[in-house]
Symmetry: D2
Subunit: 349 residues, 4 copies
Amino acid sequence: MVQDTQPIKVGIVGGTGYTGVELLRLLAAHPAVQLEVITSRGDAGTPVAAMFPNLRGRVDIAFTVPDAAALAGCDVVFFATPNGIAMQEAGALLDRGVRVIDLAADFRIKDVADWQRWYGMTHASPALVAEAVYGLPEFDRESIRGARLVANPGCYPTAVQLGFMPLLRAGVVDASSLIADCKSGVSGAGRKAEVHSLLAEAGDNFKAYGVPGHRHLPEIRQGLSGIAGCAVGLTFVPHLTPMIRGIHATLYARLTDARVDLQALFCEAYASEPFVDVMPSGAHPETRSVRGANTCRIAVHRPQGGDTVVVLSVIDNLVKGAAGQAIHNMNLMFGLPEATGIDAIALLP
Amino acid sequence: MVQDTQPIKVGIVGGTGYTGVELLRLLAAHPAVQLEVITSRGDAGTPVAAMFPNLRGRVDIAFTVPDAAALAGCDVVFFATPNGIAMQEAGALLDRGVRVIDLAADFRIKDVADWQRWYGMTHASPALVAEAVYGLPEFDRESIRGARLVANPGCYPTAVQLGFMPLLRAGVVDASSLIADCKSGVSGAGRKAEVHSLLAEAGDNFKAYGVPGHRHLPEIRQGLSGIAGCAVGLTFVPHLTPMIRGIHATLYARLTDARVDLQALFCEAYASEPFVDVMPSGAHPETRSVRGANTCRIAVHRPQGGDTVVVLSVIDNLVKGAAGQAIHNMNLMFGLPEATGIDAIALLP
Amino acid sequence: MVQDTQPIKVGIVGGTGYTGVELLRLLAAHPAVQLEVITSRGDAGTPVAAMFPNLRGRVDIAFTVPDAAALAGCDVVFFATPNGIAMQEAGALLDRGVRVIDLAADFRIKDVADWQRWYGMTHASPALVAEAVYGLPEFDRESIRGARLVANPGCYPTAVQLGFMPLLRAGVVDASSLIADCKSGVSGAGRKAEVHSLLAEAGDNFKAYGVPGHRHLPEIRQGLSGIAGCAVGLTFVPHLTPMIRGIHATLYARLTDARVDLQALFCEAYASEPFVDVMPSGAHPETRSVRGANTCRIAVHRPQGGDTVVVLSVIDNLVKGAAGQAIHNMNLMFGLPEATGIDAIALLP
Amino acid sequence: MVQDTQPIKVGIVGGTGYTGVELLRLLAAHPAVQLEVITSRGDAGTPVAAMFPNLRGRVDIAFTVPDAAALAGCDVVFFATPNGIAMQEAGALLDRGVRVIDLAADFRIKDVADWQRWYGMTHASPALVAEAVYGLPEFDRESIRGARLVANPGCYPTAVQLGFMPLLRAGVVDASSLIADCKSGVSGAGRKAEVHSLLAEAGDNFKAYGVPGHRHLPEIRQGLSGIAGCAVGLTFVPHLTPMIRGIHATLYARLTDARVDLQALFCEAYASEPFVDVMPSGAHPETRSVRGANTCRIAVHRPQGGDTVVVLSVIDNLVKGAAGQAIHNMNLMFGLPEATGIDAIALLP
């Protein structure tokens, strides 16, 4: 493919975090992409491979100061920035014909007032929020194909929405009392120097956090409501588990239709999805089975034949939960085969 | 105390697992105890400290072949054996006047038929099941004080029952739809050579297991029903998390009384309990805060003021979830101050 | 390439261990290979993907009982078996024109008596030992190109030999007093159910093992002697470190030529090697920088300008230390570009 | 003891790091101590137990702004501060009759010019350096008993000096070519928010650091020279291993006396030491066997009967390598039994 057509020119804004290095790892091996520019105000001048030694010999560019002209020369720009940056810069790029994929939360929540409450800042581009397409391919890949601006889903929201989707679409559970008990590896907290993320603090330890309210709650609630076609009630409890990559979502819902064949429901829902793997009845997916891969593995249970359905959903938070899904979106936007560059097999053990 | 009175002569049957070494660690430093005998058919002759080097210089006895006379000379015998052993041997010891604390499951379930279904064997001593006292001091310490035979609770059941107890006693939640999402470190699986417990398998990985049904389910259900005074409905999902010690139970219940002051309810319930620490409102207990300690730390939340209450309960599965609680029971049975020998501060970091 | 030519038909004997699953992960994505058969006596009938869920949807064959005819139909057979198997079966395959790559130790040591001492068994095919080529491409790739039978190096020997090679070839160190202090992740011990490899035993722990003598010692000594052109004196101390993949070799030698430019020596030695990365002066390679990759990263130091040279050498024990190097050898044997199928970028974090 | 005499009034300066919380854990349970004051400029007002939840219910004081009068009312003050603080404040306390134990490096190096080179600052109290006693009890406990000011040894220096001491005292190795290959858990880097110490960076990873020169090198060299009675040559390479606590020192020396009985030499050297455990011949000490304990376990090997001796020495870097040894020094200074308050058994698993 790369022989027949021009490579897609790619820029990355803010590539010094974990979603940044993961984008680089995947894009450097993507056969249809040419990496043009990666920006970082704080680390301008540093070769990318000096910060991330796994890229030595594979990515030879350096971080540069953000430069509008350089980014405007790209076909697509990924924002791997903290929340609040893309909303300020995406508009100008879109005006120059550059497509934008934001891995942060700026364009995920349609209700701007709600977004402003949870993120504690005034939104700079409400109009773009309305235009942005939520980049969960399993929900609506057609809209992604035609999008100029994609809001790449959060990691928890990806795992939770994929787990609840078949149940809500089929209308077989009580949507008013959903529970999502989620466990994340520490890379989900990003590459920020914070005491609570030190190995000596987070290692050999398990804890919940953000129980009173976590920013992914409104995103998940919006997504599930969109799937269900009605407002949902959701309790969302995230936890930190002492591993590097991976999210495990354990989902609980009350069945309203006791006759439904849950296994068949899930198998049919994802039969043609390249990145969702419904496991056999009785299985327990492991996060390591998707380490480094763009796959979501799901199992559905109905313990003791009762009226509570339990869904187990695992992803790699940096791949299907961030960079891999972003590239999936790029592939859709540029008419490439969906799995291009994101079909690596998970690393196990 | 040890000066004024005779030390309690202690025997341990089956001390080569993790509850065994934890009993040894605690008993070796217990001021009122003299360790008389520790048995292991497979490792007879091996000095205890050769298997567990942390005990070098502190425990100088060796494992011996089980010997009825030696055990009968003890004041109390702990069974740290696989399920199905204590039910065969406890009776003879009781007949000789020895008190027995079983850390396995043989005497935990009052419904013998139910026990036989879950444990897959015929019970050898149904009469002793009826006599045995369930050793959760926060539930009924008076009965423990007078017991000859104590069934030491399982690790998950300890964390879950302590978390739900104030809610069920006060009758402020719907007891028919309780959810216990539990996460355990790998020492909970014991010191058995099994592939799935290898560091290369369980490390950097997270998974649920036993979702269709786990042996601790009937034990928890029995305990919660006893607390609630009625049959409860419970969904119990255990998970394996890549750490050595610790259980984190995340508990969900639907409030039936919206006006209850949850924080006050929990504080009052445990005000005089030496080993339950109710954390301040908004807190998230960490498993490492109880590593090596006989403490259960609990926090109670009501996210967004809704009708779902979330309780977070952490213990060290080998201490409050096994050996520490067993010694607490021994202290009660022998009239010692409750915290004797089990008041160490948790090791953090 | 796969379009123009027939794919290489590959068989694997004994694929249920970690080198087996790693061969499968790499071969399943190798563009010039067709996986024909994988044998396991104990797990015959089990789909490969049922044992290793990362392979779901990517490898659809099942383990089969070893069958001479099926293996004889392959172009190349990898032995991922315990020591002592390949020496019994390789001969018959070679006679049928099948090339063989043994990932175990059967053909690594040229001195059969020495091998028998260290491995505690009688060698079944001394003649094949003489024929076998030691598969360290950086040492002698020409011989590998023409080989029928390749002895794939051990993990420690790979890291140690690549670290010492430039020094010994240049003759600038005292070859009689070499020290190799090596640290390995636990996957190096294999997928065997053993107590000392449990997460609860090996996690949060560090220890040396095999100090009196480890089987990789004669292999390393033979290799270093071959490089140096004289017998070497070596002290080799392996350690177990609580991680899954990775070897870090810290090598010490006494300089005999104080004027040598060590950095230049290493850079020149590996200038044209695709899988050895000499890091800049002052660097400290990390094992995670090669996680999942077929790369050896090396740094050379001379602390305080003294006469002790310190070499730091890291590999992924399952890739460059096992399956990746085996495929590198296969690529050489079949005239493929050397990096075919083994050019993935390391997974970091 | 606490009944007969006044408790020792203890102050801690700078208790928000890992040596601080470890001092608190040990002192809170020490039967002869009363914790008077703990200072922290940045966290004044915060209850100690709010920062370190393992101390809830056990330590009820809060951090306070450093106050000369409050500290002057103590019998002994521990400095658990960054380097460069104690040298400014110790003098005034000593003048008021307070004894001082510095857990930082301010008073460890007798050669002030050398100290200034390695630590990059001008020393504020060279006269106190001359007075300070190096607090390694196994080297010279008599001097510690009479000291006003103790320089508590570094973690690496403790493990390395105890490992080499018998060899150097007996004069049976070549002191000019010692090698110390050391591995530390991440708590050795302190409780500082730094990217390289994040679980996502340091987890599942192994690396050397500081090979060109580490600050513990001059301290170890000074100590070993003092033991040997002559200048020693030392190569010191520290490594970071993905665990929380523990140091494993692997020490190499060339034997000059081939007839020496190494096992007997070590056993005799430490026969009367309460905190050094010489393991049986052939043993490999594990760091977990000293987790939370004030013990150094040592094994000595002579691989293949050659002329290289290998010593394996493990400690808990926060106990024997910091807080535990500091309390050992306090016990000596105040005439208490040496093991008072520091005799806990290691936590395993």
